[in-house]
């Protein structure tokens, strides 16, 4: 059984790859798809800290198997820096089946590109 991680079973980290700095103070939200109603339920609202991280995205108890979405308000982030961006927001939709694992979903972001991957 995996040891409990400090950040919970789901964590993220936003990096501003254009400026080489953490993506700080980016609003984000976590949603779970209700499979019967086929609607997204809002689970958590948060904001990245100065390190680009946001703790407490979801508790282990609430983290059930299913389809999830993290939405990052990237357009607002670039606007706060006085710049435009190609992407008004970024949504990453993913499927969780094995609840014994931990999931680290970083977002490497510039004004005209982004990358994400499944980490642990």
């Amino acid at each position: 059984m995996a040891a409990p991680t400090p950040g919970g079973p789901l964590t993220t980290h936003v990096l501003n790859t254009a400026d080489g700095v953490p993506g700080a103070h980016i609003d984000l939200s976590v949603h779970r798809l209700d499979p019967k109603l086929v609607l997204w339920n809002l689970i958590t609202l948060g904001s990245t800290d100065e390190h680009g991280r946001c703790s407490g995205l979801i508790t282990k108890e609430a983290f059930t198997a299913g389809m999830y979405k993290i939405r990052f308000e990237t357009g607002q982030y670039w606007e706060n820096l006085g710049q435009t961006s190609f992407y008004p927001y970024v949504e990453i939709v993913f499927t969780i089946t094995d609840l014994d694992q931990t999931f680290h979903l970083p977002l490497l972001l510039s004004r005209y590109a982004y990358t994400t991957y499944r980490g642990r």
Binding site: M67, G75, T84, S85, F86, Y87, P88, Y89, V90, E91, I92, V93, F94, T95, Y112, A113, Y114, T115, T116, Y117, R118
Partner: protein
Amino acid sequence: MSTRLQHIKDHIWAANQCAEMSISTPSPLTTHVLNTGHGTPAASMGLSLHFLDPTSMTWNLLTTGTTNNDGRCPCLITREAFIPGAYKMRFETGQYWEALGETCFYPYVEIVFTITDASQKFHVPLLLSRFSYSTYRGS
């Protein structure tokens, strides 16, 4: 015909006539899907292009298509239908990997982008593996 009605007519035309669109009028919006897990183009992936109606704030489906053997889908939109606004490309990544007998962390990928200068060309590629993806604005 009002400009707005003409745009709607062009959108419907694009959705219906994708396969017949002439290659002499290339789409101002292109994509390219690459399977970075296998080092190949991502062929036969379903995808769709949507436009955000600014008055109703709902997504309108413009075009559906499938990537060819080169991972491309040439006829996404006509120059006439390509107006400024918010667009969304949706890639059916889960179905793609399922057809290869594998699972994928991402059931689908949606890339939402804003077009302000519709006279430019925009290339929205997707570099995809089972556990990662990247996109960027090309031209």
